[in-house]
């Protein structure tokens, strides 16, 4: 069976900077940090984090009430990002509704806020009489994918991968495989998440959340830096519109990049701790899937969230495969860790880096941790010939993912 080539023809983003890819990329290139104080976190006993990177208030009413009633913010982010990607790709209502467009969008979990709000009321008297009919659609695991499909009239495949911080990358990888197999012509792929204090608490209780920069949020998180102290939670949605190359060429679409390799593997050594060997194996399988070697990779976009264990393991894994010659950076220093959205947001930025040949550095990397020193860090905006990128995403639960993107060339 011959596989189709898979290309990216649209990008969309809702980030802690606001809505839109241009704002996202301009902010990254300008080195702007998105982490802000969240004073209301002080009301939660036992939670040490007081900062996060939150999406500024958006006008959710651009989504008609009929569709919005079953959404929480993460679905609104997903709809806005999908609309942006579709517009860039030049796909309209007709293409959405014909069954050739699918949607693969996941989140870490359904809306915790909606669950909390329901149970806060329910537990007062154990009555279901006040339960709204739309609650289920907000807390189900495939809330974002289903809400996007309903709002945009998408009649093709629908899938909601859930692998925490690997979700966005898995969505792109699984979407690419479906297109390669000829099962769909276009797929909106990505991850979305909305902030809830429980997310910050997840890292805080494991001593993996940033707590020392509550009074100086611009300085955290600090991937690969000696003075890092953990994850800063973020929210948003990143979408890549994947398309079969033959379709894109027939339409005369602007091809932004090609997805050439994908690997996602379980790391069963520990449910929480990263494993350098498993990370290296995942990257190696993605390279093999793309039919390239480490020498072909021009840049590695790291998962690196700013935790000691994670940064060390990833730096070690990258060094094993790539040595000290390949530029590496993490975008978490800019936007924090957007959980399920992180992989696809960062992939969208990688597509842009392929396009303009400027590598975005790791923000807040002032003094490289000696344990992370052997790899070649990008310390400032760097012009470089970039033809092939490898992007990593790793998740609690032992789920690693790596994706290879290539500048599109007609051959």
């Amino acid at each position: 069976m011959s596989l189709k080539r898979v290309v990216v023809t649209g990008l969309g983003a809702v980030t802690p900077y606001g809505a839109g890819m241009d704002l996202f990329l301009d902010s990254l290139r300008a080195g702007r940090g998105a982490v802000r104080p969240v004073p209301e976190l002080a009301a939660i006993q036992g939670l040490r984090a007081r900062v996060a990177a939150l999406v500024p208030e958006l006008d959710a009413k651009v989504v008609p009430r009929k569709f919005r009633r079953s959404m929480t913010p993460m679905s609104v982010y997903a709809v806005l990002a999908c609309q942006e990607a579709l517009a860039q790709a030049g796909l309209g209502e007709g293409e959405c509704q014909g069954g050739r467009l699918g949607v693969v969008i996941g989140s870490t979990v359904g809306s915790i806020e909606a669950s909390e709000s329901f149970f806060a009321d329910f537990l007062t008297d154990h009555s279901l009489e006040r339960m709204k009919s739309t609650l289920f659609f907000q807390i189900m695991n495939h809330s974002c994918a289903a809400n996007v499909a309903q709002a945009l009239g998408i009649a093709g495949r629908i899938l909601a991968p859930a692998a925490a911080c690997s979700t966005g990358s898995q969505a792109v990888g699984y979407g690419a495989e479906m297109i390669a197999l000829g099962k769909q012509e276009w797929i909106l792929c990505g991850g979305a998440d909305e902030f809830h204090p429980l997310t910050a608490a997840t890292f805080d209780v494991m001593n993996a959340g940033s707590t020392r920069y509550n009074d100086d949020p611009a300085r955290t998180p600090r991937p690969f830096d000696r003075d890092r102290d953990g994850v800063v939670c973020a929210e948003g949605c990143g979408i890549l519109l994947l398309e079969a190359l033959d379709s894109a060429r027939a339409r005369g679409a602007d091809i932004l990049a090609e997805v050439t390799g994908f690997a996602t593997l379980s790391a069963p050594s520990n449910i929480a701790n990263p494993d350098a060997e498993a990370i290296a194996r995942c990257m190696a399988e993605a390279l093999a899937d793309a039919g390239v070697t480490a020498a072909d990779i021009d840049y590695v976009n790291a998962h690196a969230t700013g935790t000691e264990l994670g940064d060390h393991a990833e730096a070690e894994g990258i060094f094993r495969l790539f040595g000290d010659g390949v530029p590496v950076s993490s975008l978490k220093g800019h936007i924090g860790h957007a959980m399920a959205a992180s992989g696809s947001l960062e992939l969208a930025a990688c597509v842009a880096m392929l396009g303009d040949g400027r590598l975005i550095p790791t923000r807040n990397l002032d003094q490289v941790d000696p344990e992370c020193a052997p790899i070649r860090h990008v310390r400032g905006l760097e012009a470089a010939p970039v033809n092939t990128i490898l992007k990593n995403s790793f998740a609690l639960g032992g789920v690693n993912s790596s994706i290879v993107l290539r500048r599109y060339r007609h051959d």
Binding site: K61, R65, K66, R69, E129, R130, M131, K132, S133, T134
Partner: protein, 87 residues
């Protein structure tokens, strides 16, 4: 509460919940066609009205006969008066 006050409370509650344009909320407006609501909305409408008037109406068979906003007004006024009389 006068009938008009009850109608105003109904309309205000429904307008807020379903983002309805008050100009469209005439008594003869049909729930589905004119106001654009659907079966999920009618489930939530019951909850909204129960919260607004502190009564229970979900199990009332008459509720199934409701077609227009005016039907809602009459149903709620009747229920409110019966409850008031019973109190």
């Amino acid at each position: 509460m006068t009938d008009q006050e009850i109608i105003e409370r109904i309309n205000a509650s429904l307008a807020e919940e379903f983002e309805l344009d008050r100009a469209d909320m005439v008594p003869e407006a049909t729930i589905y066609e004119d106001l654009g609501l659907d079966s999920l909305d009618t489930v939530d409408m019951v909850i909204v009205l129960e919260a607004a008037f502190k009564f229970k109406i979900r199990e009332e068979t008459a509720i199934r006969e409701i077609r227009t906003l005016g039907d809602i007004h009459n149903f709620v006024i009747g229920k409110y008066r019966r409850q008031d009389g019973a109190a």
